[in-house]
C-alpha cells in the first residue's frame, strides 16, 4: 500500500460511519454517562432529589447490613442458577425432540413459543391464580379427592422463589427452544450421516459433536437468559409483590422501592451500582476470553 492512500482509511465507508454516530452518542451519553452519574451519586446522601453531598461508602455499609437486600441477593442467586440451568436443559431437550422430524411440528413449536408473547406482568398474574391455594392447582387436586394435597408456593416464605421460577421458565423456555432448534437445523445433515456411519450412539453424537458445534447458539441463549435474570422485577411484582413479607424480594425491586417509595436516591443508586458490578464481574472475564482470545488465535 502506498503512503498517499493511508489517510483514506478514516473516510472509508464514510456513510456507514456517519450513520452510526447517533447510536454511538446514545451509547456514550445515555448508557455510559448515565451509569457513571449513578455510580457518582451513590456516594452521596441524596434523598428525593440528587445532591452532591458526599458521604463516602455509607450507603454501601447500610445496604449490606439491610436484611432485605441480603434476602434479595440470595433469591437472585437461587433464581439465577436454577433458571439458567433449567432454561438451557429444557430448551435444548424440547428442541432436540422437535428435531426428530415429528408430525405437527409447527403446532408444537407455536404452543411452546406462545407464552413468550405474554409480558411478565400477564405471566405473573396467570401464575398467581394458578398457584392460589383456594382456586388454583391445589384447589383442583383437592376437589378431585386428594384432601391433603398441599401446593401453595406463593404463600410459603421458604419456597416462594420456586413459584416465581416456575412462571419464568414457562414464559422463557419457548424462546430458548427456538434458538436451539435453529442451531440444530444449522448442523449439516452430513455430520449426522458421518456419525451414523461411524456407529456413534445418538446421545453421544449430541453430547460430543452437536452441542460443541452449537457453541455460538449457546452463548446467545446464555446472554439472553442472564440479562433476564439480573433485571427480574415485573414478574415478582405481579406474582407476589415481594411477599410473603420480604421472602421473594429481588435486587431490582429494592432499587426501585428505595429510589421512589423511600425517596432515598443514594441508597437506590448504591444498590443499582452493586447490580452493575455483578454484571461487570460476569461479563468482563467472558468478553476477555471470547474476544481477546480470538485476536491472539
Amino acid at each position: 500500500m502506498s503512503k498517499s492512500e493511508r489517510p483514506n482509511q478514516l473516510f472509508r465507508n464514510l456513510n456507514a460511519k456517519v450513520a452510526s454516530i447517533p447510536m454511538v452518542l446514545t451509547a456514550l451519553v445515555i448508557f455510559v454517562g448515565g451509569s457513571a452519574w449513578t455510580v457518582l451519586y451513590s456516594f452521596t446522601n441524596s434523598k428525593l432529589l440528587p445532591r452532591l453531598n458526599f458521604v463516602g461508602l455509607d450507603q454501601y455499609y447500610r445496604l449490606w447490613s439491610t436484611p432485605r437486600w441480603l434476602v434479595s441477593i440470595e433469591n437472585l442467586l437461587v433464581y439465577g442458577v436454577l433458571s439458567l440451568v433449567f432454561s438451557l436443559v429444557i430448551g435444548f431437550l424440547l428442541a432436540a425432540l422437535l428435531d426428530q422430524k415429528i408430525r405437527f411440528e409447527d403446532t408444537f413449536r407455536t404452543i411452546f413459543l406462545y407464552p413468550f408473547a405474554l409480558s411478565f406482568i400477564v405471566t405473573g398474574l396467570v401464575w398467581q391464580w394458578l398457584l392460589n391455594p383456594e382456586f388454583g392447582i391445589q384447589g383442583v387436586v383437592r376437589g378431585l379427592g386428594w384432601e391433603s394435597f398441599n401446593f401453595d408456593p406463593l404463600y410459603n416464605s421458604d419456597i416462594v422463589i420456586y413459584g416465581i421460577l416456575i412462571a419464568a421458565l414457562w414464559q422463557g423456555t419457548g424462546l430458548i427452544m427456538c434458538l436451539m432448534l435453529a442451531g440444530l437445523r444449522g448442523i449439516d445433515e452430513d455430520i449426522w450421516k458421518a456419525a451414523r456411519v461411524d456407529g456413534i450412539p445418538t446421545l453421544k453424537t449430541y453430547l460430543f459433536i452437536i452441542i460443541p458445534m452449537m457453541r455460538p447458539v449457546f452463548i446467545t441463549a446464555l446472554v439472553i437468559i442472564a440479562a433476564g435474570i439480573v433485571k427480574v422485577y415485573d414478574l415478582v411484582v405481579a406474582q407476589t409483590s415481594g411477599g410473603p413479607g420480604i421472602a421473594s424480594e429481588v435486587p431490582a425491586k429494592y432499587v426501585y422501592d428505595y429510589m421512589f417509595f423511600a425517596q432515598n436516591l443514594g441508597q437506590g443508586f448504591a444498590a443499582s451500582t452493586m447490580m452493575l458490578l455483578s454484571v461487570v464481574v460476569v461479563i468482563v472475564p467472558w468478553a476477555y476470553l471470547e474476544f481477546g482470545g480470538k485476536k491472539r488465535g
Binding site: 436484611p67 409483590s241 410473603p244 426501585y256 429510589m259 423511600a262 425517596q263
Partner: protein, 412 residues
Amino acid sequence: MRYQVMTAALAVTTALQFAGPAAATDLEVTHWWTSGGEAAAVAEFAKAFDATGNHWVDGAIAGSGGTARPIMISRITGGDPMGATQFNHGRQAEELVQAGLMRDLTDLATRDKWAEIVQPKSLLDGCTLDGKIYCVPVNIHSWQWLWLSNAAFEKAGVPVPKNWNEYVAAAPALEKAGIIPLALGGQPWQSSGAFDVLLTAVGGTDTFLKVYRDKDAEFAAGPEVAKVFKAADDARKMAKNTNVQDWNQATNLVISAKAGGQIMGDWAQGEFQVAGQTAGKDYTCLPGLGLNEVIATGGDAFYFPLLQDAEKSKAQEALAETLLDPKTQVAFNLKKGSLPVRGDIDLKAANDCMKKGLDILAKGSVMPWTDQLLSQDTQKQKEDLFSEFFAKPDMTVEEAQKRFADIVASAD
C-alpha cells in the same frame, strides 16, 4: 426500574387525554382515591370545583399512595406538573417544596384566614415550611381504629369486645367458628401501620412520641416497647390466615363477617358505608383500640405545583377555596368517613363512628402521626421490617425489637 415509573406516568397522562372538553380552565388533579368509598368522596370535590366554572380533570392513580406518590413526584420533577396533587401532609413533599417546585399559598391563606378556620392548628403546621404555607389540608385521617364485625362475634358466641385485650381473648372462639380473628392485608404499609397503632394504644401517646419524635433508640429497645411487640405478636398469630393484599379486600372480610376485625384507619369506614352497613348495628368501631382514645392528625392535603400558565394558576386558587368551603367539606368528609378540617361546620349527618371521632377531636386529644415525624426512608425501613415480621411466624419478638431499635437509631 426507572422505566417502570416512566411507563406508568405515561399511561396516566395518555389516559387523561380522553377526559373532558376544554371549555373552562382544565385543572388536572392527581390522587390515589380509587376504592368505592374514596371515589364517591372525590366526586364531591370534582362537582364543587366544576360548579366554579372550571373543569376538574380527574387523575386517579390506582394502587394506594405507595404506588401513586412516585408517579406524582416524577411528573413534578420531570417538568410535567399537574394542576394539583394529593399528598399526606407532613414530610412526603418536603423536598419538592425545598426545591421550589411547589406554589407558595401564604397570600391566599392570609386573605381567607386559614389560620382561624382550620382546626386543629397542627394541621396547618404540617403544611408549613419556613413560615410559608404550601398545602391545603382537606381532612383528618387517623389510623387508630379497630373495626369489628358484630355478625362474626355473634357467630362465635362471644360478646363484641370493648378493647384490644378483650379482642385478643376472644380470638380462640373466633377461630373455632372458622373466622379469621384479625384481617391484615399483605401490603407492607398495613402491617407497619398496625404496629404504630398498637404502639399508641398499648404503649401510650408518650411512648409513641418518645420513639418517633425523639427517636430514642435506647427506649425503643426497652421494656415499654417490648410490651408493644408482645401485642404485635398476638396480632401476628390472629392474622396468620389472611390471604388478601389490598386494605379494602381485608375490610371486605370484616364486612362479610369472614374476619372478626381489622386495625385500619378511618378511611375503612367509607367501605362499610358503601356496603350499606350501619355503625353500631352491623359493625363496631373502637378508636385507639379502646385503650387510648386519641386521634392522630394525619390526613390528606392538596399541594399545588408552581405553574407558568396564568389561567391555570387562577384555577388553582379557585380549587384551594373550594376544598376548604364548608359545604364541600361536609359533603366530602361524610362520603370519605374522615373528619373535616374546620371546627365551625355542622356534621349532623355524621354516623356513630364519626361522632366518636369528633368528640375526641373536640376534647383536644390529638397527636402527630408518622407522616409528620418520620422521613419516607425511615417509613420504608419500618415497612420492610413489619411486613417480614407479620409474614414470618418464626421471627422472634426480640429480634424484631432489636431491628426496630436500629431503625429508630438511624431515623431522620
